[in-house]
């Protein structure tokens, strides 16, 4: 017993020593001296614009952050899966439905992979998609407004990590379950994993005019963990490639038990074939529940719909739709080069990287060069599909992006570096240390047919030594490299928000010209819009009071309101009458238990306020708007429940007139009820 313990300690020490060496290796250049003109290369003079937009997911922040490249300046945070007090997203009445799911109102998620819409394998700058990992969801952001306009839940999956990978004409967003679960969910012992757990690969189709998402079909797969995907392009268009781990089908201590086999699997899906099977009715309909939340463009109001049916395709009923091929141990990366011919499969726990050839895979399929099958799915012979092996490029290969010159760039998590290699001849060309442990990396267009290999951003998971310390929690760091020459060159570090997981970058001129500056007030179809100050009013409907308010620099109308009562539900519908760029108005009221509103020019937004105590409460504009911004405020008087204080409102001398108007209103109401 004792000897065994000692042995264990020795081996632990050895492992840790080895790790220290590896880490020390990565840290050797912690104080890297940036070469002479690096600062100049990232310097964007005041008033000048960056060349690229980079969209970074926010990981556990649930959001997206937008940076300019090469400056690394933070341009904006786009709220997606988490409530955002800065502008009331998820708190305002219009946006609350965005968080509806089959689990109820879920105001947080873990956002992972950014996918920009494409046409012919190139970014078109229309929409951006991102997945919610925890409550399986996919969101769409409109790039004319940088607002989240749609969230679709994906049913019967767990940990939607493998999402939302797009096809080259934005036909589909492909996703896979990271964790297999019982389908449909049921109460079973966990150790019946092998019998009861299944994995789903999901295809969400996109309406090409509006980008609206629809769950087209799901493919039922063996109970493995589906981790990352890429879709084919050019020659391989019509196919999807997904890495899977835990082909051992373990359910406990996965770091050991799911790493037993030397090779796991890559799933290869012919989605055009799957489309044919769907058209031919080869699916089974299964009752389920998932939510589809869509923002109405003209009202700015989100609506939720519960969907109750899904279409399942089973590989055994649909021959030639799904294949497997072995991939090195515990893969995490799966990337397709710009030509569409080469597919890189990375095993995190393998020293080698397997690069597959699409044409060889097709040939192997044609010749039925299979090594058996798994649950009716043929397993392609590994060597038959292989283009070659990149031998010992580094430790812990994760993700690969490409330039337009035939090179690939792979992050190595354990040895903390980016390695540049030639895809065709598998020759290693260069390596640069990162600080430290990079996950994904991004090259503008590096996932598409048309990369722009000027810059590379590595997103690092560990940040020690890079910035002034801020307690135990540090911002993650992104590092910008110049990759235009033979050697990569570090230009800049910049801190990021949350745990940015993946990013995509697009040439600014594909997005900037379409950027909306304000909402045309003429087109505002919000049912509680107030299109002009003369139309402001306050309407009581039982315990609900609706305030039709307008905002203009520098006043809110009405600014004095009396007649609220304890227990009322007061809806402030604030319309910003401005039609000028960059003049949002804010609205906050004391005692509100949710957030503020930030209303863009021409928009209407609604804040619910439930006064609990008698008194006079101030409200005001939160976004500094003019020299008289401080004066942009007002009072709401709250009387006791049952008090006979009449409802009246006004702005300046018109308060009295409105009292008359109020009386008239009640008169009319009475006449109506007679």
């Amino acid at each position: 017993m004792r000897t065994r313990k000692v042995n264990m300690i020795i081996s632990l020490v050895t492992i840790m020593g080895g790790m220290a060496l590896v880490v020390a290796c990565g840290q050797r250049n912690a104080t890297t001296v940036i070469e002479g003109d690096a600062a100049e290369q990232v310097y964007i003079a005041p008033g000048e614009y960056d060349e690229f937009y980079a969209f970074l997911s926010g990981g556990f922040s649930g959001q997206i952050t937008v940076y300019g490249l090469p400056s690394g300046r933070l341009l904006r945070e786009v709220p997606v899966f988490s409530q955002y007090p800065e502008n009331g997203y998820g708190y305002s009445e219009e946006s609350k439905p965005m968080f509806n799911t089959s689990y109820g109102f879920v105001p947080w998620d873990d956002s992972h992979h950014i996918e920009l819409s494409q046409q012919n394998g190139e970014f078109d700058g229309r929409w951006l998609f991102v997945n919610g990992n925890n409550t399986p969801r996919i969101a769409r952001v409109d790039l004319s407004t940088f607002e989240t306009v749609e969230i679709l839940e994906i049913p019967d999956v767990a940990g939607l990590h493998c999402a939302p990978f797009i096809t080259e004409n934005s036909e589909y967003l492909v996703s896979g379950t990271r964790f297999s679960i019982p389908i449909p969910q049921k109460d079973v012992p966990i150790d019946t994993y092998k019998e009861n757990f299944k994995g789903l690969i999901n295809y969400v189709s996109l309406d090409q005019d509006h980008g609206t998402m629809e769950l087209a079909f799901q493919i039922e797969m063996p109970g493995f963990n589906y981790d990352l995907a890429r879709n084919g392009k050019a020659v391989s268009h019509g196919w999807s490639f997904l890495t899977t781990y835990n082909s051992e089908q373990a359910h406990s201590l996965l770091e050991v038990n799911a790493s037993q086999k030397d090779k796991d699997l890559m799933a290869i899906i012919n989605w055009k074939k799957a489309e044919e099977y769907v058209a031919a009715g080869k699916f089974t309909e299964r009752p389920t529940s998932y939510y589809h939340n869509l923002m109405d463009e003209s009202t700015g109001i989100a609506h939720s719909q519960e969907m109750k049916m899904t279409r399942i395709l089973k590989p055994e009923d649909c021959p030639e739709m799904v294949y497997f091929i072995p991939v090195p141990k515990s893969p995490h990366g799966c990337d397709v080069d710009p030509s569409g011919e080469y597919i890189v499969g990375n095993g995190k726990l393998s020293a080698d990287m397997s690069v597959y050839s699409f044409s060889k895979i097709m040939k192997a399929i044609e010749e039925k060069n299979f090594d058996g099958e798994i649950e009716g799915i043929p397993v392609i012979n590994y060597d038959a599909g292989l283009h070659g092996i990149l031998q010992k490029p580094g430790l812990g290969p994760l993700h690969t992006e490409f330039d337009e010159r035939g090179n690939a760039y792979t992050t190595f998590f354990i040895s903390s570096e980016v390695v540049k290699w030639n895809v065709d001849n598998l020759e290693i060309l260069d390596r640069e240390a990162t600080f430290y442990s990079p996950g994904h990396l991004v090259i503008p267009g590096g996932e598409t047919r048309k990369p722009e290999g000027k810059y590379l951003v590595a997103m690092n998971k560990i940040t020690k030594d890079r910035y002034l310390p801020t307690g135990p929690e540090l911002a993650h760091s992104a590092q910008l490299f110049d990759i235009s020459g033979d050697k990569m060159k570090l230009l800049l570090d910049f801190p990021t928000k949350g745990e940015p997981h993946y990013a995509q970058a697009i040439r600014a001129d594909k997005v900037k010209p379409n950027s909306k500056k304000f909402y045309n007030i003429e087109e505002n179809a919000h049912p509680y819009a107030t299109l002009g100050e003369s139309k402001t009013k306050v309407v009581r409907e039982g315990d609900e009071v609706h305030v039709y308010m307008t905002a203009m620099r520098s006043h809110l109308a009405p600014d004095n309101i009396e007649g609220f009562k304890v227990g009322d539900k007061v809806f402030f519908h604030v319309t910003n009458l401005e039609q000028d760029w960059d003049v949002p108005h804010g609205f906050a009221i004391q005692g509100a238990t949710n957030a503020e509103l930030l209303v863009m020019p021409g928009q209407t937004k609604t804040l619910l306020w439930e006064p609990k105590k008698v008194g006079v409460y101030a409200f005001y504009c939160t976004d500094f708007c003019s020299a008289l911004h401080q004066e942009m405020s007002g009072y709401a008087r709250v009387s006791a429940k049952g008090a006979d204080v009449p409802l009246k409102w006004g702005l300046n001398e018109t308060l009295r007139e409105n009292q008359e108007q109020a009386e008239k209103f009640y008169e009319q109401l009475e006449n109506k009820s007679k």
């Binding site: 008033g47 299109l531 003369s534 203009m552 109308a557 039609q579």
Partner: protein, 166 residues
């Protein structure tokens, strides 16, 4: 291009405003004053402001249909700052505006607000009074014309006079 022009405009503007406040009135024509005045576009010197509107033709009687259209736009986009009386709220009251300003100036102020505030001395005087920049409400030229007609009607109703600045 725009970026480079802007500082120039600002420079000229600041010269104009410092001149205006220091020079003390039009009679006192310093060399600098004359020089800068001659640099002003002729449309500004003519009291038409600056912008796309150079010549407005008016019928004697305000066109009723245009007045109605103009009022609807006024209600939605202008009324929160401009009253129809002579009372200043955020912006100046509209009463008598067509007797003080040429129709071109009014329409340029509505459609070319930012440039007017940066270049036109009369617009700048108003900004100094009101201390809130008039927002660009993105009013189309046709709509601005309707608003003008509505303002003429308003002046007729309130003062019995219109177009006094022509």
């Amino acid at each position: 291009m725009k970026k480079r022009i802007l500082p120039l405009i600002l420079l000229v503007t600041s010269l104009i405003s410092s001149c205006g406040s220091g020079g003390g009135g039009e009679e006192k024509k310093t060399d600098t004053g004359t020089e800068i005045k001659s640099e002003l576009p002729s449309s500004i010197q003519e009291g038409k402001g600056v912008g796309g509107i150079t010549d407005v033709e008016l019928s004697d009687e305000p066109n009723a249909a245009m007045v109605a259209e103009g009022q609807a736009i006024y209600d939605m986009k202008c009324a929160s700052c401009h009253k129809l009386t002579d009372q200043r709220v955020v912006g100046p009251g509209f009463q008598g505006v067509t007797n003080r300003r040429k129709p071109e100036w009014i329409m340029n102020m509505i459609t070319n607000t930012d440039v007017m505030l940066d270049k036109d001395p009369e617009a700048q005087k108003l900004l100094e009074e009101c201390l809130t920049r008039m927002p660009n409400q993105n009013v189309k030229e046709k709509d601005a014309r309707d608003i003008l007609e509505f303002l003429r009607r308003n002046d007729l109703d309130k003062t019995g006079e219109k177009d006094g600045a022509i």
